[in-house]
Symmetry: C3
Subunit: 559 residues, 3 copies
């Protein structure tokens, strides 16, 4: 395929994304088809191409058997097996299990069973306000980061319905479910709803998060879609065994926020928060009275950095690894939690009034937002006995005001005010943009006219059926000249030399939320003067053409 044809193709695809009236129900099928054609063309000389073809089309192709993500609605083979009592412990022979009395069953239940508890989670792209004048543009669950806190009891049958009201595919991974979840709710197209039922047999504090398949599993989590699901144990913890109960229960998530996709991959967050707001419980300390029994259900979402949770003035009475009552420790000043690790923490408020600071003792994270406080006073008549891990929510009016007044807006995948241009001088002649973590890095590049800019795809997880994963391209959406790359696998490059002064905006077609900008300046330092020269010559006629041609293309590739 010639470069001209490809460019036309790309333009149509751009229009597909921007003009299309309906949201994208699957991750760019057009891109998938195109990408596979390209692999065949270069199989002779490319190791990656060969591996991908083997993987998808070879005799031994594993994805043919059981795809990583499947739209599997037909009756399940598990149900066709000889009927098994769902409460019965399961062993490798699936019949009378001797010797495994101590083991609870897995979470498998036939999908037509009646649930004890039902929850609905709504996923989309959106903004949240973090406090301190900071607005975050990322992905949300129920318009929050973290999403809603789900609390169930051991042995409940739980139904979770997942609604995608966004423009791209989302999905769900639920750590409390000891059974297949990917094929039920793993990938949910824009506008679709799916659900899963399972029985929670192991008590504990679990993470759930968006997981639309492949490279997007970590990326959507890094962008903000996660929450906590707690399975309360039948017999409680040591405290309950002593005949007591917690006076205050804090469901606490520590989580990270990134200003670029590269930072997300490298584990360099800009903010680290407790329950969705910078220093939330410093601004609104948790009221307790001396002598109160306090329980923290703690989940470190991460998704990169460890936390060592500590309270100034408190030694733990008992802590429970992953929240299971059998995994008990005595005393201790901290609990160490990697990403998706959890603890149940029990302690008492001492006799002496004052503030008891809550902090991750990984102090780089603490300074970035992960500090809170318990305010202990004999005068607190009423205390809030349950504090959930949900991020704060705001009305549309409040959010509109936040957007207007925000000191800064940050986003991992598109340029905002904080993305200062990365400036290339004439001596450097060449500039490189990494495509990494579903974003461009640097997001804004400023180069002298005549500079060759090279994009290199540093994302690696390049393929999983039905999902576009870490394959990216570069396509201009505005600017004096137009340019577009083919789809790039890991380590593949595309270069373009800018010969006209002006501002160029571009996106990645398979992931149209990924945005970048190149500012080309006159090396005699007249940059800036022509920045507004938005070039519309091709946009209008093609938009018209797109209106007619695209519905046909879409229909073709979706069927």
């Amino acid at each position: 395929m010639s470069r001209e044809k490809w460019q036309l193709c790309v333009l149509l695809a751009i229009l597909l994304v921007f003009v299309a009236l309906a949201p994208v129900s699957q991750a760019c099928d057009f891109c998938n088809v195109k990408f596979m054609e390209m692999q065949e063309e270069k199989a002779e000389t490319s190791l990656q191409a060969r591996e991908i073809l083997d993987l998808v089309r070879g005799d031994n192709a594993p994805y043919r058997v059981t795809p990583l993500t499947t739209d599997n609605k037909q009756p399940d083979k598990a149900d066709e097996q000889e009927p098994i009592e769902i409460l019965q412990p399961m062993n490798d022979k699936q019949n009378g299990c001797t010797g495994c009395d101590g083991l609870p069953p897995t979470s498998y239940v036939p999908q037509d069973v009646e649930p004890d508890k039902k929850f609905t989670l709504t996923l989309k792209e959106g903004d949240v306000y973090l406090g301190k004048g900071v607005l975050y543009s990322g992905f949300t669950i129920d318009d929050k980061i973290p999403g809603p806190t789900l609390i169930v009891k051991q042995n409940d049958i739980v139904e979770i319905e997942v609604v995608n009201t966004g423009k791209i595919p989302h999905g769900m991974s639920i750590h409390a479910a000891y059974t297949q979840t990917s094929k039920y709710v793993g990938q949910i197209g824009a506008g679709e709803t799916k659900s899963i039922k399972f029985k929670v047999t192991y008590p504990g504090v679990y993470m759930y998060h968006c997981a639309p398949g492949g490279h997007a599993i970590p990326m959507h989590t890094l962008f903000g879609q996660y929450g906590m699901l707690v399975v309360l144990p039948d017999d409680g913890y040591e405290l309950e065994k002593r005949g007591e109960k917690p006076d205050v229960e804090l469901y606490l998530i520590q989580h990270e926020m990134y200003k670029t996709g590269k930072d997300a991959i490298m584990g360099d967050p800009l903010y680290v928060l407790f329950n969705g707001q910078l220093f939330r419980y410093v601004e609104d300390p948790i009221k307790v009275r001396p002598g109160d029994n306090v329980r923290i259900y703690f989940l470190n979402v991460g998704p990169n950095i460890i936390s060592t949770l500590h309270i100034v003035g408190v030694v733990w009475d008992h802590v429970y690894w992953q929240g299971h009552p059998d995994n008990v420790f005595v005393g201790g000043q901290t609990v160490l939690a990697g990403p998706s690790d959890s603890w149940v923490i029990d302690f008492r408020i001492p006799e002496d009034e004052g503030n008891y600071l809550l902090v991750t003792h990984a102090f780089g994270s603490a300074t970035r937002g992960a500090i809170g406080a318990f305010s202990a006073s004999y005068d607190h008549e009423e205390v809030v006995s349950v504090i959930l891990a949900d991020g704060p929510t705001y009305t549309e009016e409040e959010l509109a005001e936040f957007r207007e007044l925000a000191e800064r807006i940050i986003s991992p995948y598109e340029p905002t005010d904080i993305d200062e241009p990365f400036i290339i001088t004439p001596e450097q002649q060449k500039a490189t943009v990494e495509i990494i973590g579903n974003s461009f890095y640097p997001k804004v590049l400023k180069v002298p006219v005549g500079t060759e800019v090279e994009w290199i795809n540093e994302d690696i997880f390049t393929y999983a059926e039905g999902e576009f994963a870490g394959i990216h391209d570069v396509a201009a959406t505005s600017g004096p000249e137009m340019f577009a790359s083919p789809l790039l696998g890991h380590g593949e490059k595309f270069s373009y030399t800018f010969t006209e002064v002006g501002e160029y905006e571009y996106i990645c077609i398979p992931h149209p939320y990924m945005k970048g900008k190149v500012i080309v300046y006159d090396s005699d330092e007249k940059s800036g003067s022509q920045q507004a020269s938005f070039n519309m010559w091709y946009a209008l006629p093609l938009a018209l053409a797109g209106m007619i041609v695209l519905p046909i293309i879409i229909r073709k590739f979706r069927s």
Copy 2:
């Protein structure tokens, strides 16, 4: 307030810092008052300003009730409650506790009780020598990093007296105390002494560290003020239960040293040390004999990076999570410790002589200094049976020689020889200095004349009563031109365009140890020639004015 007035104000404040004969007993009250005025002025348009005003002056203002740090000397309400036997387990009703037999009491004791053990810790800013020709300029306890190792027995009543001989506020957080410490020793002004008494009821290996409130809690710890407090269990560990005892006891702290505040926040240390010296126990291996029982009381201070402690040629016999005898594990090649995590480790020296290397298996840290060795020989007649975690100390003469001969001096918050200028070229037109981790980054900037330099405050924890926390400004102290910014909250910016060649030095007034430099060069490459043009025109008359005016201002704001 006009810019001119503000500049005058700033100059006076500079003089306050440099001219004042007495050290600063509180964190810049003048700055606090000024900052609150500014918040009122911009409350209409700034989200941050509104939040801060709500927090401090609103109806629901939590800090009115129980400030994060308080100079609370009056009798405590805890003592006014119905008298409770301090040894009695405490429950939520504070009376006869049934069912909580297994739980020790918290650490609360009335402050007039007689202690079993008393320690004095002296905090200040100062230098230490790290070995390998490296001098570190930071914050110290008893002139050491780490500070002294404190060893007590379970159920001791401990008094810790904290003396601040520095120029800025310091304070103390003591992890072994299961009771309020912040309000007794949380913030101690320059020249002041405070103390706290508490009963250590949970055995374990604990961290203590400077904690003067708010943003300074993590920062002073990152800058070097920490140590170990061990509470020995009444009945010992498995070894004692077998009727044996350790032949060699090593109290071991792993800790990190940073060359910029930004590195401290990002968790990128320049050095990682065992007990305060680079490769201390390689240079002076710990002598042991085959068959010796060795116990390590291990604390990873961090404050950012995990450690997996390992000894080449040793498998652990027993290790105890956080040093509590009930949290016992068998075998294992490593122990994993996040910041402020601790372990007690018991093992035997095998029959075979030779060196047994001690190392964190996080090998990036090992190469930066965290390697040591046990030297095992049948010929070692005497072995040192107790090795404390205290950093090395030197006489004033030794330190003077180290300062003169040091290959390098490093400091997180002020420029030293290793801070190479960050050079801006004429094409870049603009430069950005981040204010982060109570330091400027880059600390030394070199720009062509006419460049606009923008400072942006990336510190976030902007307020806690009585402490200035992460609010910073920029104020010239020398150079051809003068400039000064208002106080900056998180994400706020200040710009200044340099029009004269020369060297400019500046500080942050609320944290005058924070120092930065801008070198302005002629873009025709004659830079350097005018560097010495220190501009005195404003310093002398203002110094005189300051002598008269400042005492009045200080008195006004301190009262």
Copy 3:
């Protein structure tokens, strides 16, 4: 010694490395001798020099007593002690141990005992293919990364023979050995073979890795030389106690790959892999059947980043810290492992078919390669019951093709195609190259003619007997001009101003695999034109001289 003499000396040394017919059997003895002379010359003014001399020559010199690495072949003193029953628990008196019944003996056995199992490991420098078009040039064991998986039973006497077929010293640290290993296999010269015997008394999952002494211990591990040794417990785990056994056993290593030595020290890997290949078990999912008992022997090699291993759709039944059956936990969604931490993980495949994704929940690492999958189907007639942690191996033909077709070649210590030149502009006047992690950073520097380039040694662990550790120098091997530095200790610098346009290649003589490049361009932008001007004037005559002179020098310094 004058600079001219030193340069001649360096040239001879270069020839030593490149011309010598035999590989280097010890780490540059010539360098060691030279370095010690330099320390004496500067002892008056250098703190480092004094410390090193004290360490090696002082009265109290610890290295005289028991060197960190020794070529100890004579009968061991342990054998000369009163004979002890090797199976008998050892205590500090080495006789009848009362009260230590619960403790197994250490691993010490006389070296003339007959082993139950014998393994041979072959170490050298070499390439491996990582998948996705990436070839890695580093250090290997048995031509693999990770090396072979060694499986033994509790109380086996194990012999490990280590063969060095590389060009530099290698060695071995074996974490399962609870006895001296360093002095038997700690340092093995090029072409040499050594061995060690030990008894494995503590069951568990252990790391082994190259450890040639000093700074090289972490560096060779960071470069790829490691593997897993599992000691299976006599009585199995809970599963075996229930009368069952695992249907599928996965030996799983997570490990990191670096593209520069600096990244290795900073803990910023380019790739994170399971068992040596990017997304290995996505491309070839592990086949299981619903109801299967699966056991994972998990080792996080690191050597820097934590892992929280998780399987989508699985809650653990039992996990065992470090693989010891006594350290059992129930339930949980993740296990947290720092570098060299390990777990045994037992779980069941639920009734529902589909893919169960295996992933580290530290999602930055997951996106870089650490994702896999179990494919569960009732139709899988045969499943592979044991999957080892060995990295993949390829024939020489396959590797040759990979080298030709690779999208990218990466290496921590020498420039490859991915090492874009770091460009210095004329305004900057000066450039700095860090020597860190046994590599130059940046590896390729491009400077205008007339620029002063400064090399600074940021490696710290500067000395351990018999090994050159973190001492480096800079010596030109090609280019229009020649330059050479003296040996640099930590923080020491060397500067050279380039006055001729062209390409300069250089190495570090003690570590000749460390390679760097400086490209000098005409600031009027004619760079590139003279790049090929390889300067041979000095190479040929000196090569001839070297042929005659070097054997004499070598003989002198080796004896």
